[in-house]
């Protein structure tokens, strides 16, 4: 079900497909290598340290810091009608990094490098098909979990 992840999906098949189900349930998941304990975000099935093939999803809190961002005016196929939109790269406090849209609790015009944010799991409510993503929100923002 990894095709659930992102507004447009080009990656239907992956060993970490469960990530999208967890995101729908309100949980942001990294991976922990069953053999050596290495934690990765984004999650990965194969450990770069010990080459182990077994992993377990591990929940992330999602607090982090903005590393950089941009406002995209010229968008690719599938994003027509949503421009301009702002995406930012965030260093997670628990390690690893993600790229996400700016959500409603942040003032896009005032977004700044170094700003603290909370990553919040989201469902595209307006779409018929299940589509999940996450947004960058003000610290302290809460959400429901399944």
């Amino acid at each position: 079900m990894f095709e659930w992840f992102g507004l447009v999906s080009y990656c239907p098949h992956t060993k970490v497909a469960g990530f999208a189900q967890h995101l729908k349930d309100g949980r942001l998941m990294g991976s922990r290598c069953d053999a050596c304990g290495r934690v990765s975000f984004p999650p990965r099935a194969d450990c770069p340290d010990c080459r182990g093939a077994a992993f377990t999803f591990t929940e992330y809190g999602g607090a982090g810091t903005v590393v950089t961002f941009t406002r995209i005016a010229a968008a690719p196929a599938g994003f027509e009608g949503r421009t301009p939109f702002t995406i930012g790269v965030v260093d997670l406090d628990e390690g690893g990094r993600l790229l996400a849209w700016c959500g409603g609790t942040l003032d896009e015009a005032a977004l700044a490098i170094g700003q603290r944010v909370q990553v919040v799991p989201r469902l595209f409510e307006e779409l018929e098909a299940i589509k999940v993503h996450y947004t960058l929100e003000a610290p302290g923002t809460t959400w429901a979990k399944a």
Partner: protein, 385 residues
Amino acid sequence: MARVGIIGCGQTAFGRRSDATVQELAFEAWRAALDDAGVEPDVVEATVVGSVPEYHKQRSLPGVIQEYLNLNPRPVWLTEAACASGSAALRTAWLEIAAGVHDVVAVIGCQKMTELETAEILALMGRVGDVQWESGFGTTFPGYYAMFARRHMHEFGTTSDQLAAVAVKNHHYGAANPKAMFRKEITVAKARASEEVSAPLSVYDCCANADGAACVILAGERAARALGKDRVVWLDGMGCASDSMSVLRRSDLTGLPSARAAAAQAYAMAGVTAKDIQVADVHDCFTIAEIMAYEDLGFCGRGEGGAFIDARGSYIGGAHPVNLDGGLKAKGHPIGATGVSMTCEIVSQLRGECGPRQVPGASIGLTHNVGGIGQYCFVNVLRRD
């Protein structure tokens, strides 16, 4: 390892070419390179084609190119390294000669980017990054470089005027290059007034898609001498490195670690340092990319790229003249052809053939060709004896 040099080079004009197939473009560059080298096709033992396949309706380009150039049954295959595909082809040809497998090899870089319809281009554009973790959010090629620019501005105080100054320089020199797509000077004010693409980058911070082909003919030292060639430009330093597809795995967002690694290899192999480079063609797919290149190549210190262009350090007369052919910005960027075209430009500079945009007496030059957002970087040092 035997020394390998370039005995001939040629390229088409870059721009919209709605009159020709990609193999017809390749033939134009091939003809020009043979004429330049003064050799007949029978001395060329193999070819390597650099191109990004997904822009062409014709699949497996080496097949149609080798046929149209009438070079069957000689070996050929395609190399792909995004916007550095042409340099991957050049490196492959260099390896074929350095290994002693062939004496003379032709490199063809080519791309038709204006064949696709707008919808097809927009679909491709949405898949330039890591499709698993990034494309689902609508990332674009300018978007990634915009995030580099934002971070560079944050850490070093680089300004939009400094980015625009790169575009102004490249249009200035591009105006003097008969092969360039855009041959008009621009001003900082005009560049700053252009439409936003991905903040803080606007239209004049971005290079343009183009059609075109370029060809260089390589020979081992003994073969070059046997052919009577006396104005060979030598590939004395060859560097190549990689970095993550995903921006999420980058250790640095203000430069390209792959460029620094490739430059270190090339300098060491050629026995030179950055200060020896008298002329360079660098990968200015976006203005910020050229600023980062100044720093990654050691033309200035980290974070000093903006000041370097302000001080005209990359103009003729500066410490390291850069992109005197107009760069990707004004010459155009037919992605597979770009690395080969850069090589053509530096060969011409080292031979002293560039007229109004010639660096007087240059004998050591450099090419810096980046794939994608630094997933690949090839840095080569070229020398005329």
